[in-house]
Symmetry: C2
Protein backbone atom coordinates (compact mmCIF):
# COMPACT_ATOMS: atom_id res chain seq x y z
CA UNK A 1 0.00 0.00 0.00
CA UNK A 2 1.44 3.34 -1.08
CA UNK A 3 0.10 6.85 -1.38
CA UNK A 4 0.56 8.77 -4.61
CA UNK A 5 -0.09 12.49 -4.35
CA UNK A 6 -1.23 14.63 -7.27
CA UNK A 7 -0.91 18.39 -6.78
CA UNK A 8 -2.91 20.55 -9.17
CA UNK A 9 -2.29 24.29 -9.35
CA UNK A 10 -3.54 26.99 -11.71
CA UNK A 11 -0.91 28.10 -14.22
CA UNK A 12 0.85 31.31 -13.07
CA UNK A 13 -0.75 33.37 -15.84
CA UNK A 14 -4.29 32.31 -14.85
CA UNK A 15 -6.18 34.57 -12.43
CA UNK A 16 -6.80 32.86 -9.06
CA UNK A 17 -9.75 34.53 -7.27
CA UNK A 18 -9.68 32.03 -4.38
CA UNK A 19 -6.03 32.73 -3.71
CA UNK A 20 -6.64 36.47 -3.99
CA UNK A 21 -9.50 36.22 -1.48
CA UNK A 22 -7.18 34.45 0.98
CA UNK A 23 -4.41 37.01 0.36
CA UNK A 24 -6.90 39.82 1.06
CA UNK A 25 -8.30 38.15 4.18
CA UNK A 26 -4.92 37.46 5.84
CA UNK A 27 -4.03 41.12 6.66
CA UNK A 28 -7.59 41.70 7.94
CA UNK A 29 -6.86 38.96 10.52
CA UNK A 30 -3.51 40.48 11.42
CA UNK A 31 -1.32 38.20 9.29
CA UNK A 32 1.07 40.27 7.24
CA UNK A 33 3.55 37.64 6.02
CA UNK A 34 2.07 36.86 2.61
CA UNK A 35 3.05 38.66 -0.57
CA UNK A 36 0.85 36.38 -2.68
CA UNK A 37 -1.33 33.29 -2.26
CA UNK A 38 -2.31 30.68 -4.86
CA UNK A 39 -4.86 27.98 -4.12
CA UNK A 40 -4.90 24.56 -5.72
CA UNK A 41 -6.04 20.99 -5.22
CA UNK A 42 -4.36 17.98 -3.68
CA UNK A 43 -5.35 14.36 -4.32
CA UNK A 44 -4.15 11.49 -2.15
CA UNK A 45 -4.48 8.26 -4.12
CA UNK A 46 -4.00 4.96 -2.32
CA UNK A 47 -2.63 2.21 -4.57
CA UNK A 48 -2.10 -1.46 -3.78
CA UNK A 49 1.49 -2.68 -3.84
CA UNK A 50 4.53 -0.58 -4.63
CA UNK A 51 4.28 2.32 -7.07
CA UNK A 52 6.16 1.14 -10.16
CA UNK A 53 7.20 3.47 -12.98
CA UNK A 54 4.38 1.97 -15.05
CA UNK A 55 1.80 2.76 -12.39
CA UNK A 56 3.13 6.30 -11.99
CA UNK A 57 2.77 6.78 -15.75
CA UNK A 58 -0.86 5.68 -15.42
CA UNK A 59 -1.41 8.18 -12.60
CA UNK A 60 0.18 10.91 -14.77
CA UNK A 61 -2.31 10.05 -17.51
CA UNK A 62 -5.23 10.16 -15.04
CA UNK A 63 -3.98 13.48 -13.63
CA UNK A 64 -3.93 14.88 -17.15
CA UNK A 65 -7.38 13.63 -18.19
CA UNK A 66 -9.45 13.63 -15.00
CA UNK A 67 -7.79 15.48 -12.14
CA UNK A 68 -6.64 18.60 -13.95
CA UNK A 69 -7.60 20.85 -16.82
CA UNK A 70 -4.35 21.12 -18.81
CA UNK A 71 -5.56 24.32 -20.49
CA UNK A 72 -5.40 26.28 -17.22
CA UNK A 73 -3.72 23.98 -14.69
CA UNK A 74 -0.42 22.22 -14.11
CA UNK A 75 0.00 19.08 -12.02
CA UNK A 76 2.75 17.25 -10.21
CA UNK A 77 2.73 13.53 -9.32
CA UNK A 78 4.66 12.50 -6.18
CA UNK A 79 5.06 9.32 -4.20
CA UNK A 80 4.40 10.07 -0.53
CA UNK A 81 7.12 8.77 1.77
Amino acid sequence: MATIVVEVMLKPEILDPQGQAVAAALPRLGFTFATSVRQGKRFEIEVAGTPTAERLAEVEKAAETLLSNPVIETFLVKVEA
Copy 2:
Protein backbone atom coordinates in the same frame (compact mmCIF):
# COMPACT_ATOMS: atom_id res chain seq x y z
CA MET B 1 11.44 35.19 -1.35
CA ALA B 2 10.31 31.76 -0.21
CA THR B 3 7.23 29.65 -0.74
CA ILE B 4 5.41 28.17 2.23
CA VAL B 5 2.91 25.44 1.36
CA VAL B 6 -0.13 24.63 3.48
CA GLU B 7 -1.82 21.32 2.72
CA VAL B 8 -5.35 20.92 4.05
CA MET B 9 -7.03 17.50 4.01
CA LEU B 10 -10.29 16.24 5.51
CA LYS B 11 -9.76 14.11 8.63
CA PRO B 12 -9.83 10.39 7.81
CA GLU B 13 -13.14 9.88 9.64
CA ILE B 14 -14.88 12.62 7.61
CA LEU B 15 -16.74 11.55 4.47
CA ASP B 16 -15.13 12.95 1.29
CA PRO B 17 -17.69 13.05 -1.55
CA GLN B 18 -15.25 14.74 -3.97
CA GLY B 19 -12.65 12.05 -3.44
CA GLN B 20 -15.29 9.35 -3.78
CA ALA B 21 -16.48 10.87 -7.06
CA VAL B 22 -12.90 10.77 -8.39
CA ALA B 23 -12.43 7.18 -7.16
CA ALA B 24 -15.66 6.19 -8.94
CA ALA B 25 -14.72 8.01 -12.16
CA LEU B 26 -11.22 6.51 -12.50
CA PRO B 27 -12.31 2.93 -13.35
CA ARG B 28 -14.90 4.29 -15.81
CA LEU B 29 -11.95 5.86 -17.68
CA GLY B 30 -9.94 2.63 -17.56
CA PHE B 31 -7.73 3.51 -14.58
CA THR B 32 -7.78 0.68 -12.07
CA PHE B 33 -4.83 1.61 -9.81
CA ALA B 34 -6.68 3.43 -7.04
CA THR B 35 -8.04 1.74 -3.93
CA SER B 36 -9.13 5.08 -2.46
CA VAL B 37 -8.91 8.80 -3.26
CA ARG B 38 -9.07 11.78 -0.88
CA GLN B 39 -9.25 15.34 -2.14
CA GLY B 40 -7.92 18.35 -0.28
CA LYS B 41 -6.62 21.87 -0.76
CA ARG B 42 -3.15 23.25 -1.29
CA PHE B 43 -2.09 26.84 -0.65
CA GLU B 44 1.15 28.30 -1.97
CA ILE B 45 2.03 31.35 0.11
CA GLU B 46 4.86 33.60 -1.06
CA VAL B 47 6.67 35.33 1.79
CA ALA B 48 9.39 37.97 1.63
CA GLY B 49 12.78 36.99 3.05
CA THR B 50 13.64 33.64 4.58
CA PRO B 51 11.00 31.67 6.46
CA THR B 52 12.03 31.92 10.12
CA ALA B 53 10.56 29.72 12.86
CA GLU B 54 8.55 32.76 14.00
CA ARG B 55 7.07 33.26 10.55
CA LEU B 56 6.23 29.57 10.26
CA ALA B 57 4.42 29.77 13.61
CA GLU B 58 2.39 32.67 12.18
CA VAL B 59 1.54 30.61 9.09
CA GLU B 60 0.47 27.71 11.37
CA LYS B 61 -1.85 30.11 13.17
CA ALA B 62 -3.29 31.39 9.86
CA ALA B 63 -3.72 27.81 8.62
CA GLU B 64 -5.66 27.02 11.77
CA THR B 65 -7.92 30.07 11.71
CA LEU B 66 -8.42 30.89 8.02
CA LEU B 67 -7.22 28.13 5.71
CA SER B 68 -8.70 25.10 7.44
CA ASN B 69 -11.66 24.11 9.56
CA PRO B 70 -10.03 22.28 12.49
CA VAL B 71 -13.30 20.50 13.29
CA ILE B 72 -13.17 18.45 10.09
CA GLU B 73 -9.74 19.13 8.56
CA THR B 74 -6.08 18.68 9.32
CA PHE B 75 -3.29 20.80 7.86
CA LEU B 76 0.43 20.58 7.29
CA VAL B 77 2.79 23.55 6.84
CA LYS B 78 5.89 22.99 4.68
CA VAL B 79 8.64 25.15 3.29
CA GLU B 80 8.98 24.50 -0.42
CA ALA B 81 12.55 23.80 -1.54
